[in-house]
C-alpha cells in the first residue's frame, strides 16, 4: 500500500492524488495554522472566557468521554482558566471500566459536576447494528470517521447542545484533536438554523432508523429557542500545544490511567476496534487516517507514529466481543 510521503493518507483514500515527491493533494491544499494564528485564537478565547466566567450556573459544558483529549481539555479549562464545568458523558454501553473510573476521578480533580447519560442498551444496540451493516451516512462524513463513531458523536453533539440550552450554559467544549476539526471552527457560535441545515447528515439518518432515540436529539421546540441563547462551541486543542504522548504522561501524574481494553486509537471505548475493523474492510482505509494526517500536518505527531496507528490490525478479541454485543456476525 502506498502512503503520502508527508502524512499518512493511503492511496485508497477517496480523491487522493500524489505528486512526483509522493505528497498527496490533501497535504498540498491544507493550510496549517502557524503560531500567530494560534496566538490570535488564544487571545480571542481568553477574552471570551473573561466575558462569561462566573455569570451563569456553569461556565461551560464539556463533552467528556473520559479519553485523553477530553480529559486534558477539561483539565485546562478548570485549572488554567478557572471555569465551572458541567462534564457530560454519553455512555454508549461500551465505555471501558477504567475510563469510567477516570471520568469520576478527573471530574473530581477538575471540580466538575459529572452528568452521565446512558440510553438503554437495547436502543444503542439497535442503532449500532444498523450503523455497522448499512449505509447510513454520506460518503464525505465517512472520510473522517467510521459509521459507528459518527453515530455516537452525533448523539454527543446533540446532547451537549440540548443540555446547554436547557441549563443556559454559554460555552460547549470538545476535546477535538488538531486533526479532527479545523482551527477556523475552534470558537464558533452555534445556531438553530445551522443545526437544522446539518441535520440531514447525521441526525436524520439515525432517527429515520431508530425513532426511539429522538429524546437525545434536538426537538422542534429546541430549535425554536432564540439564537442569542445558543452556546458558543469551543475546541481549544486546535490552538493549544498538542502532543499525544506528553498529554498522556501529564494526565498519568494526575491519576488518569490508560485503559488496556481499548484499541490504540481510543482511550475510552471498547466498541472502537469493531468500528475500525468494519470501516477498513468496507472502504480499505483506516477511519482515523484523516485525523492522524491532520495531527501530523500540524506538527503534533511523528509520521511514523501515525502510520503505526493507522495500519495496525485490530485485536480480534475486541472485534468479536463488540460484534457479539451488537449482535452482528464477522466473516
Amino acid at each position: 500500500m502506498k502512503f503520502c510521503s508527508s502524512c499518512v493518507l493511503p492511496e485508497t483514500f477517496p480523491g487522493i492524488e500524489f505528486d512526483k515527491e509522493g505528497v498527496c493533494n490533501y497535504c498540498r491544499h491544507t493550510l496549517v495554522p502557524d503560531k500567530n494564528k494560534k496566538q490570535e485564537y488564544i487571545k480571542k478565547f481568553e477574552n471570551l472566557l473573561d466575558d462569561v466566567r462566573g455569570k451563569y450556573d456553569y461556565d461551560v459544558i464539556m463533552a467528556y468521554s473520559g479519553g485523553k483529549d477530553s480529559t486534558y481539555t477539561m483539565y485546562q479549562l478548570a485549572d488554567k482558566y478557572n471555569l465551572n464545568i458541567l462534564a457530560l458523558t454519553f455512555d454508549n454501553g461500551f465505555i471501558s471500566k477504567k475510563a469510567m473510573e477516570n471520568i469520576v476521578h478527573m471530574s473530581d480533580i477538575c471540580g466538575a459536576t459529572s452528568l452521565i447519560i446512558r440510553p438503554s442498551f437495547r436502543k444503542m444496540k439497535k442503532i449500532f447494528k444498523i450503523a455497522a451493516v448499512e449505509d447510513l451516512y454520506n460518503t464525505k462524513t465517512l472520510d473522517r470517521a467510521s459509521s459507528i463513531c459518527t453515530t455516537c458523536i452525533g448523539h454527543v453533539k446533540s446532547l451537549v447542545l440540548k443540555t446547554a440550552l436547557e441549563k443556559n450554559i454559554p460555552l460547549a467544549a470538545y476535546g477535538w484533536s488538531p486533526g479532527q476539526a479545523p482551527i477556523a471552527s475552534a470558537i464558533m457560535k452555534t445556531s438553530p438554523r445551522l443545526q437544522t441545515f446539518t441535520h440531514k447528515t447525521v441526525r436524520d439518518p439515525i432517527l429515520e432508523n431508530c425513532r426511539e432515540l429522538s429524546t437525545y436529539f434536538l426537538s422542534d421546540d429546541d430549535l425554536k429557542i432564540e439564537k442569542e441563547k445558543w452556546p458558543i462551541n469551543i475546541h481549544p486543542l486546535a490552538f493549544m500545544d498538542y502532543d499525544e504522548k506528553e498529554i498522556i504522561k501529564f494526565l498519568k501524574i494526575l491519576g488518569w490511567e490508560e485503559p488496556k481494553d481499548t484499541d490504540p486509537n481510543s482511550s475510552n471505548c471498547t466498541l472502537n476496534a469493531l468500528a475500525n475493523y468494519l470501516h477498513r474492510k468496507k472502504f480499505n482505509f483506516h477511519p482515523y487516517a484523516w485525523e492522524m494526517a491532520g495531527i501530523i500536518r500540524s506538527g503534533s505527531m511523528k509520521r511514523e507514529d501515525g502510520l503505526i496507528k493507522t495500519t495496525q490490525e485490530e485485536d480480534l478479541k475486541m472485534v468479536y466481543y463488540a460484534a457479539r454485543m451488537i449482535d452482528i456476525s464477522i466473516d
Binding site: 491544499h29 476539526a181 471552527s185 447528515t201
Partner: protein
C-alpha cells in the same frame, strides 16, 4: 478575474471533491445530499464565504436554499450585492 461561481466551484473542488473523478459537480446539485460535504464541511464553506467576500451570514440565512448548491450560493451572494 474569477467569477463568484468559479471561486465557489474551485473551493468545493479543491477542498471537498479533490481527485474524486466519480463526482460530477453540477451547479444545481445539493452538496449535502450528494455526499460532497458533511456537517464540518458546511462550517468550512460558511467560513470561507464570510472571509472571502467579507460578509456576515446571519442565522436566518443559514438555510439550504442559500447554501446547499453552487447556484444557491451564487444567487445568495448576488442578493448581498456580490457578483
Amino acid at each position: 478575474m474569477e467569477t463568484v461561481q468559479e471561486v465557489i466551484t474551485n473551493f468545493i473542488k479543491e477542498n471537498f471533491i479533490m481527485g474524486r473523478s466519480e463526482i460530477n459537480l453540477a451547479p444545481d446539485q445539493s452538496l449535502l445530499e450528494s455526499g460532497i460535504i458533511d456537517s464540518t464541511g458546511v462550517l468550512e464553506l460558511v467560513m470561507f464565504i464570510e472571509e472571502k467576500y467579507s460578509v456576515t451570514i446571519d442565522d436566518e440565512e443559514l438555510i439550504p436554499e442559500n447554501l446547499d448548491g453552487i447556484n444557491n450560493i451564487v444567487n445568495f451572494l448576488k442578493n448581498k450585492g456580490i457578483n
